[in-house]
Symmetry: C2
């Protein structure tokens, strides 16, 4: 452990995540990484197997965090609107915690090798769960009867782009952001909208 | 002109746009492009100066199309909600017309050379106009009093991601999509929302 309480492996992964964000996964070499962590290239291999090993760790652990969050939300007793608010908060929290990792997830997932199918399966299940929550909200007349795919697309693309936008907004606190973004996504922006 | 009425230059640009989408701008060579258009590499230069020349044509012409659209919307007499609906329709129409070009705009703009600043200026003005429309809607109590930047972020990231999502949805017609997406973005999805 170093002075910040990270293990050397954690330090390597955090540094790699930043490098991937700055230069793109393909352009980063193990030599770049060794230099950035200030370690000999040969010693790097005492901690990690390969660049692919790091990418796997970053992306799969994030994807599994989303999956666990979604499972908790899905199986809760909350009404649909509150489930959707919880999904917004899940994305805000994970993105604030690991903005660089979210950049990797969004830009580098296609570079996964043996874990690509596992990642795609997690993503597909996440989207299906999301659609099911929306659909059950429509069935319960909690959500307006609009195309569930358009609703999911609209909410999810916004949430997936948070990593691009959040670093510029350091003045917003996360509860406030989750609340405001949830309001905009769920209640819309029309002051005069009549319920239908 | 060939049988579809395109000039050779137009044909080259359309083919390049597809290649950029498939392989990424950096990976495409003039040789790849010549092969794809079925022309000798040397002859390619009778029609275009460089790969950069093509990228410029694709991105700047799209950015200028958005700018013209925004100027028309901004200067119209419509109420804010209708201006926002017109912005949604502008994105849907341009994206349906040129999905590959929108991929280039989103993924390759940073490869622009002498036109990079011009592009960034157009984008900045577009976002400022967008914020002003939202702000004047808030002032007129047409739009709920939420953070205008969160509103713009939420709407614009959805609209900017349309190129990823539209090709999978060929069954949706564009008026219907613009209408439904506008409803979701402006009126939200909450069935029971009371006006405030």
């Amino acid at each position: 452990m170093n002075t910040t309480g990270q293990t050397r492996k954690e330090e390597i992964i955090i540094t790699a995540t930043k490098l991937f964000k700055e230069k793109g996964y393909s352009a980063v070499t193990m030599r770049d990484l060794a230099k950035a962590v200030n370690i000999r290239a040969a010693s790097l291999y005492n901690h990690i197997d390969s660049k692919q090993d790091i990418l796997k760790t970053i992306i799969i652990s994030l994807a599994e965090e989303f999956t666990r969050g979604m499972e908790t939300i899905k199986s809760s007793e909350a009404v649909t609107i509150d489930k959707l608010r919880a999904i917004v908060a899940l994305h805000v929290n994970i993105t604030i915690q690991n903005t660089y990792g979210m950049a990797s997830l969004n830009n580098d997932w296609m570079h996964l090798e043996d874990q690509l199918e596992h990642y795609l399966a997690l993503r597909k299940t996440y989207e299906q769960d999301f659609i099911e929550i929306i659909q059950s909200g429509i069935d319960a007349q909690e959500i307006r009867n609009a195309n569930p795919e358009i609703i999911m697309f609209s909410i999810l693309t916004t949430l997936r782009s948070l990593y691009l936008w959040l670093p510029k907004k350091e003045d917003l606190n996360r509860q406030e952001l989750a609340k405001n973004l949830g309001d905009v996504l769920i209640n819309g922006i029309n002051h005069h909208r009549t319920t239908d």
